[in-house]
Amino acid sequence: MTVIPMVFMFAVTLTALILVGRNNFASGNFIIGSVAAILFVLAIILIVTTINTFFGKKSEKKNISA
């Protein structure tokens, strides 16, 4: 129930951040461009952390030991 909305919202925001970052760097507005880049990286870190939590090596070891 929450997974499809989550995937959709990540598609929306990551695309928007790429466009906002690209447009602002192109027009010389480095403050907003940099904030967009930081937010993009933040989102990727959290997504990767979640994937590792559920599907990563640590999770597999836990499953095996359980």
Partner: protein, 476 residues
Amino acid sequence: MNSLTLLLLGILLFLVAYATYGAYLAKHWGIDNERKTPAHTCRDDIDYCPANAKVLLGHHFSSIAGAGPITGPIAAAIFGWLPVYLWIVIGSIFVGGVHDWGSLFASIRHDGKSIGEIIRVNIGARGKMLFNIFAYLTLVLVVAAFTDICASTFAFDPAKPELLSGARAGTASILFIFLAMAFGFFVYRKGANLTLSSIIGVALLFFSIWIGYQFPILKLTKFEWDVVLIVYIFAASTMPVWFLLQPRDYLCSFLLYAMLAGAVIGILIVRPAMAIPASVGFTIGEGVKAQYLFPMLFVTVACGAISGFHSLVGSGTSSKQLSTEKDTKLVGYGAMLIEGILAIIALITVGYVVGAKGTPAQIFAGGVSDFMSNFGIPVSIGTVFVILAFSAFALTSLDTATRLGRYLFQEMTARADGKKSILNNMYVATAITVGLSALLLSYGYQKIWPIFGSANQLLAGLSLLAVSAWQVKRTL
């Protein structure tokens, strides 16, 4: 297409969704009405305090309904009314409603703690730290921006003494604060009947508007309003939630319901046809100024379909006041669907005339007052009323955002051994949050404000990530 059809179809779909999809979600998530909520198990009568579901709906709705549900659809109407309408209806039912309700429900199953805490438990401590810092900085930005918006709305310009709309709205808004404290005291400390108190409270609310209109005595400059608002949000963040924040939001929600009812009745009478095109294609403009339907529509129409700020409210003030798990549906899902109706009305106000001019607030106020004039409310009075309601939206979001910032700061600075620290103190946390916002206000929050739309929707995505991770963990 007639706008009446759009409005009635939207309301019908929201009602059906509330009864069917809402019931399905409640069963799927395992809403347990017998289970005690944090408002009871962690009760301290400051932040954790059980509230009547209708009162909490008023607090939650007026907190989540900032300027967004009005400005978003009006700005996004450049893509045509059809994609905006579809996103409002589908988004509110399947995306925003699920997000708001899910965040609220997940929070009460984690002792009323924030989304960050849900991430810590289900994903990891690093995720919590990153999310909380991001959410906190977003709230500081929101507090700075909404302080500026409210102060600008209320400000009196001595060079134009004939313009009194700001002083009128400001005077009425200050009266609301004292009215709310009296309401909270009588209901929660003197045991006054809620229905009777609400009737008297709403009558006095409209009397306050009349006083503000007739005697606009608070003719303060923008800077003076900045100071007054900073004092107010400090008080609203630190006083017991039942004394100021919750009753003020609850009473103000009637202002918003009245505006919604007035607009709906007006549209029923006028039945204006949508004059702007249904759709104008995927791309508008060229080069770096090009606007693409995807993703910009879904970022621009935020509060009217899904907004990350809602998850902070749900997992912040609302989750600490829910009396039963059953109430999560009305507060979490119901408030989002009501906001969807507001967004549809905003879309109609920009869509029934071609080339509507002015700011989104002016377009909305002009449209709604025009609709209301058809049942006897003069346009001049209707416009003041809608502007006042619009500023009430902003102020109720501002005070809640400050308190949410305080919660997050306290959560971030909480010691692992459970001992108290100076940074964890309620007053210190509020002072730092308000101080940072004031600094941002002084040095120009506008420099980074354009990124807010994307940041807010990223918050929504991350909140859905937290709720999804919790749901998966529950089934393992």
